[in-house]
């Protein structure tokens, strides 16, 4: 076969951008053009919103008109329901950009069946509507109610197949929505998927660890590529937003510019400060000075005239300001100058997907060069493990893209040693990890700090003692001859009385009992 013949025979499946945020990257370009895609989901999985948004985006973003065929709700109800998402369907209707084909059941209409029938009437109506507004997009929502209105399931399947074929002939890209009886069973009820669509998308609304978690999965696109697996999505004020997490590519630039941590000794330990575009994790038990490190980091940013954004999930604004003043840092001054913005949110107010969206919006609006998140662990308690992991990846890759140095804090569960779940998820994607640890040594609680990881730079590998003074963190000497600090069981190496005496802190040596 020659090349030209190949070109003629191979009909390339092109795609049409839906305009639904995040979805097109999951679907690698959108929905297959000129074909029907089945959207299946249990009740409340946002099928109708997906359909309406597909049409709304088409009209607003791509100048492609649409037809909405409704089997369930009346056009009036649909217009009302999506009004809260800022979509004015009536305006589209009046401007001749959108047309409804209303096949919702009319109350009080008695239907008797006498003899053979088909859905030619409906096909003719869809065709007329498509012609009238010159539509390129059609949504049929939702076919489940057909099966309750008409008894002959075999006939409905056959007719749906005809409808899909007719829409293909009209050259429109269409969506048919359908119910699923449960989240993990058949793709759709009544076995319609085999008849209707080469392309299937599943919307899920799972209860995961007592938290609702919406996901979207492109199950198949015949002859076209797409991302595999479920992607979380949320319904925001602008409708559906898909978070294409694993579809994100690691294209972040890397910077060699260093910024100060706010503490000179810590800068030295990091080999000259944090990198401009790095994500820094500060891990420690309660009271080890995580919020202090964040405060110092924020204060240093503002001092250098850098815009700094703080997300606080554990403390109120007043508490943060008071703490800062306690460490002689005046946050309200920076706020007045417009350099600092503090956003305090209770983690419980929203799902993690929503938090992520809101935080992204805040970052885009404020355009900070430094961000502090205190603490990430607070968010962990309101989500399932999976959502949390996706959230962490989502937010870290976003701040990297924005080239904002981001310091996040994580709380360890145990006072001595130990790791937190937060750490486990975040450690591989952070550039720098600072550990703040309690060190129990000879009956005394002391604090130690170490730079566990500093990507792309040399750093101090020792564990240094630090104290929290009136004006912040004071880093002192390293704990020599002490091991097991990170494991939570500090032990001294006794290599000889004389050597020990010379290397140990004087006051510690005095407290040793024979």
């Amino acid at each position: 076969m020659s090349t030209s013949e190949m070109d003629n025979n191979q009909e390339y499946v092109s795609k049409i951008m839906t305009g639904i945020p995040g979805f097109d990257s999951v679907a690698e370009g959108g929905l297959p053009r000129g074909r029907t895609t089945l959207i299946s989901g249990s009740s409340g999985s946002a099928k109708t919103i997906f359909g309406v948004q597909f049409l709304e985006r088409g009209i607003v973003e791509f100048d492609q008109n649409g037809v909405f065929v409704t089997f369930e709700e009346t056009p009036l109800d649909i217009c009302r329901n999506v009004r809260s998402l800022g979509w004015d369907l009536n305006e589209f209707k009046n401007n001749g950009k959108l047309m409804f084909v209303d096949v919702s059941p009319s109350p009080g209409k008695n239907i008797t069946v006498s003899g053979e029938y088909d859905f030619s009437g409906l096909i003719a109506r869809i065709g007329a509507a498509v012609n009238k507004v010159d539509a390129e997009r059609v949504v049929i929502d939702s076919i489940g109610s057909l099966f309750s209105q008409f008894e002959d399931a075999g006939l409905i399947r056959k007719e749906l197949f005809r409808i899909a074929a007719a829409m293909k002939a009209m050259g429109v890209t269409s969506i048919i929505t359908s119910e699923r009886s449960n989240e993990n069973g058949n793709i759709a009820r009544y076995g319609i998927e085999e008849f209707v669509a080469d392309n299937v998308i599943i919307l899920r609304n799972n209860l995961d660890d007592e938290k609702r978690r919406r996901t979207i999965e492109v199950l198949k696109f015949r002859g076209a590529m797409h991302q595999k697996g479920g992607f979380p999505f949320t319904i925001s004020k602008r409708g559906i937003e898909v978070l294409p997490l694993s579809a994100m590519s690691l294209t972040q630039r890397s910077s060699n510019v260093r910024i100060s941590t706010g503490t000179k000794e810590l800068d030295d330990m990091c080999g000259g400060g944090f990198y401009r575009d790095s994500v820094i994790l500060v891990s420690g038990a309660t009271g080890t000075g995580k919020t202090l490190s964040a405060t110092t980091f924020v204060d240093d940013g503002c001092r250098n005239g850098e815009r700094t954004l703080v997300f606080a999930f554990e403390e109120s604004r007043e508490q943060l300001l008071r703490n800062a003043i306690g460490w002689r840092k005046d946050f309200s001054e920076w706020e007045d100058k417009g350099l600092l913005k503090i956003i305090c949110t209770y983690p419980e107010t929203a799902g993690l997907e929503d938090h992520l969206l809101l935080m992204k919006q805040d970052i885009e609006e404020f355009e900070p060069s430094r961000i502090a998140i205190d603490s990430l662990s607070a968010l962990e308690r309101v989500s399932s493990m999976k959502s949390f992991r996706e959230f962490v990846i989502g937010i870290t890759s976003f701040v990297k893209e924005k080239q904002a140095a981001t310091l996040v804090t994580a709380t360890t569960a145990s006072l001595l040693g130990g790791t937190s779940v937060t750490e486990t998820h975040i450690s591989t994607i952070t550039d720098t990890i600072l550990l703040l640890r309690y060190v129990e040594l000879m009956g005394e609680m002391r604090r130690g700090v170490t730079v566990l990881k500093m990507r792309g730079s040399t750093h101090d590998k020792s564990i240094r003692e630090y104290t929290i003074e009136e004006d912040g963190m004071k880093i002192g000497k390293s704990f020599d001859n002490v091991g097991g600090i990170l494991a939570g069981v500090p032990t001294q190496f006794v290599t000889g009385e004389a050597e020990k005496m010379s290397t140990m802190f004087v006051e510690t040596a005095e407290s040793v009992r024979p």
């Binding site: 209303d102 096949v103 209409k109 239907i111």
Partner: protein, 101 residues
Amino acid sequence: MNYLLKLYIVGQTPSSSRAIHNLKRICKQHFDGNGDSYELELIDVSQHPEKAEEDNVLATPTLLRKLPPPLQAIIGDLSDEQKVISGLGLTILPEEVINEH
């Protein structure tokens, strides 16, 4: 009593012509000489989709009894005469049923 009937069909299909034929026969039998009058409108959806829109027609053929209320819909080629008659409310109860009550 005055009946207003609408028959929705699509094009010149066999089921369309069967429906027309069946309806005309039933009307002839049941409206002749009993004092009732009827008006029948025949609508081709492909010619007048806006009318089908107004009456929310999904399946074809569909026969609508617009008057008297309530609205009655009979879908199919109207080959089951008994169902058409009862659907339109033309049923005259047999004498034995009346006597039982």
